[in-house]
């Protein structure tokens, strides 16, 4: 495709503006985290006049940030791993088998995306309280309850994306594995999963990110011991003082794992979308 001359300028200006819009809060987050408290309370300055790393030290004691961090890490890791395994099985069934109820299953799972979270927040809360006391496992205000909740949040998108991905893997490969003596599950493990690795990684990132960032259920379903970062970060603002420099430092620190992971693996997400979902 030959590009006209004016396109070059449109590209520079357009991408420049988008870049500016994108980077503005990130710039403020980084520069404010290295300012002393009095500099973030007064007038805003583009360039920090005094640089200090005290916010990165103090943020751990203002709120129990490390505790929240560990909670978020445990909840998001377990939820995303289980979610992906469950999604692989379901997607394999939908992609490779014709069974009565297949269409109904797909539609049901996907339509849960449409539900307003607020509709099932309170019922779920009641279920967890009652079910928890019935089976003797704490579901409400526990990491277990949060894990179960979060892993279903990413399931619809994960299944949908993996079905598209599995569909793009030739069935002949499965058949070859079956000739070699594998059953359908053997074919899934030996052929389909290795061939779909980019899609699976993409889904894993998505599931982890959605669990790491969820706020609504975290704000209702946790107590002090199971609190995650989503709620914990608001602790800096409910004190007498708003420690903006510590909020920015904490935001930066809690973002690094997901952003770094995402940027390292984003090409798999694009590949996964290209091979599966958007085709």
């Amino acid at each position: 495709m030959r590009d006209p001359k004016w396109l070059k300028w449109v590209r520079i200006i357009g991408l420049g503006l988008l870049g500016l819009f994108t980077v503005l809060p990130i710039y403020v987050m980084i520069t404010s985290s290295i300012k002393p408290l009095k500099d973030v309370q007064g007038d805003f300055h583009w360039i920090p006049t005094t640089i200090t790393f005290s916010a990165f030290r103090d943020m751990w004691s203002t709120v129990p940030l490390a505790h929240y961090f560990v909670n978020s890490l445990i909840v998001s890791t377990i939820a995303s791993v289980i979610s992906v395994v469950v999604a692989i099985f379901a997607a394999y069934a939908v992609s490779r088998f014709r069974f009565p109820g297949r269409r109904a299953f797909s539609i049901t799972v996907l339509s849960t995306q449409m539900f307003p979270g607020i509709l099932f927040l309170l019922p779920l809360f009641l279920i967890y309280v009652n079910l928890g006391s019935a089976i003797g496992v704490d579901l409400y205000a526990s990491r277990t309850g949060l894990i179960i909740t979060y892993l279903t949040f990413s399931l619809p998108f994960s299944i949908w994306m993996l079905v598209g991905y599995f569909d793009s893997i030739p069935v002949a490969l499965d058949e070859a594995a079956k000739v070699d003596g594998s059953g359908p599950v053997g074919a899934l493990i030996r052929v389909v999963i290795p061939a779909a690795t980019p899609g699976i990684i993409a889904v894993l990132i998505y599931a982890f990110m959605s669990a790491w960032g969820e706020v609504l259920f975290a704000s209702v379903m946790t107590d002090e011991s199971s609190r995650t970062l989503a709620v914990g970060l608001q602790g800096y603002a409910t004190q007498n003082n708003v420690y903006w420099n510590q909020i920015m430092a904490a935001s930066l620190v809690v973002s690094i794992p997901v952003v770094a992971g995402f940027l390292l693996l984003q090409r798999y997400l694009v590949q996964g979308l290209t091979a599966g979902a958007v085709k």
Partner: protein
């Protein structure tokens, strides 16, 4: 979503034959039983595979939804919250309250509904436009392309609370960057405006949501662009089509299936979004930016009126179902016409 996931012809075709090769004739009874159990296992296998997903969806989404619908028919106020099965039956009164637009509750709900519709339409349209512009301008090779692509995706990768809390710092009246630029540097206002309360809060929530959602549109459209065969561009180029013409006659039509899904997903996510307004404004949103999910949350948890809150949620779900059905009907018909 539904359409593209389930009605794609040829997906997984041919592998679903549960019977396997025809059995050799004259097999003994034992082998017949074994074969039968293999057959049964094969038939049961897909159900076994979807079982975990189904159980989890039942527990977290479907059963709570049914209970939620049930709750909308009882008088579930703070007096009954500890013993909610004793709450008296309310009939349609929760619904009457929610849609009585002369009463304060109904009027506030209607207001919140219109705010949310306006907010969603603007945010989805702009997110799509920016995503499309970004994806199209990123086509071709130039220096810094990989870096820009990664940069554009950062707002989507950032946890909501980290990104949105930073915006709320930017939008602070006294110490924020926005007022510093607009008032101190550009002198556009004589007095520093408030951005998180009052009229301006609507602009704030639109800008912040846009910042969060356009990278998602960008990501999906970029993947969609990669799937357009390059020879379509070459062929149209030989026919003398310029850049604009190619955008109109090749790129946009080829992206239609992607756009169908993307716009729907963006619409549902934006409409239901709780996280962004909650982190930006806290438990009570300003009137002008009173988005529906925050409104219902507040009606339920702050005023302890769960019955009415549930009725509102059910109405919201019915609205979303209707919009989705109409949308899929219209866009799918247009697709098959094309």
């Amino acid at each position: 979503m539904v359409v593209s996931a389930t009605s794609r012809p040829g997906g997984g075709r041919g592998s679903g034959d549960p019977g396997g090769p025809p059995p050799p004739s004259g097999a003994g009874r034992g082998r017949a039983t074994a074969r039968l159990s293999v057959r049964l296992r094969r038939l049961g296998l897909p159900y076994l595979l979807i079982l975990p997903a189904l159980l989890l969806e039942l527990l977290v989404h479907l059963i709570p939804m049914v209970i939620g619908i049930g709750m909308s028919f009882i008088k579930l106020t703070q007096f009954f919250i500890r013993n909610w099965s004793a709450a008296p039956f309310a009939g349609w009164s929760n619904y009457h309250l929610a849609v009585d637009f002369n009463g304060p509750v109904g009027r506030a709900l209607l207001h919140s509904f219109f705010v949310t519709v306006t907010f969603t339409v603007i945010t989805v349209a702009l997110s799509w436009f920016l995503g499309m512009a970004g994806a199209v301008l990123m086509q071709g090779e130039f220096r810094g392309r990989g870096f820009l692509r990664a940069l554009f995706l950062v707002p989507y990768a950032l946890p909501v609370y980290a990104g949105v809390i930073t915006w709320s710092f930017l939008l602070q009246r006294e110490s924020g960057l926005i007022n510093h630029v607009l008032v101190d540097q550009l002198h556009l206002f004589s007095d520093k405006p408030f951005w998180l309360i009052g009229q301006n809060s609507f602009f704030s929530i639109v800008v912040v949501s846009l910042w969060r959602w356009w990278p998602f549109a960008f990501l999906v459209l970029m993947a969609g662009l990669q799937n357009i065969p390059q020879d379509l561009y070459e062929a149209s180029s030989i026919d003398g089509a310029g850049w604009m013409r190619q955008l109109r006659s090749v790129t946009l039509p080829m992206l239609r299936p992607v756009n169908q899904v993307l716009v729907l997903v963006l619409f549902l996510w934006t409409f239901n979004d709780f996280n962004t307004p909650y982190v930006l404004f806290g438990k009570t949103a300003p009137q002008e930016a009173d988005l529906i999910s925050i409104h219902i949350y507040q009606s339920s948890f702050v005023t302890w009126n769960f019955g009415t809150g549930s009725a509102m949620s059910v109405l919201l779900l019915l609205f979303l179902l209707l919009v989705t059905a109409v949308y899929l009907l219209i866009t799918s018909r247009r697709r098959s016409d094309a």
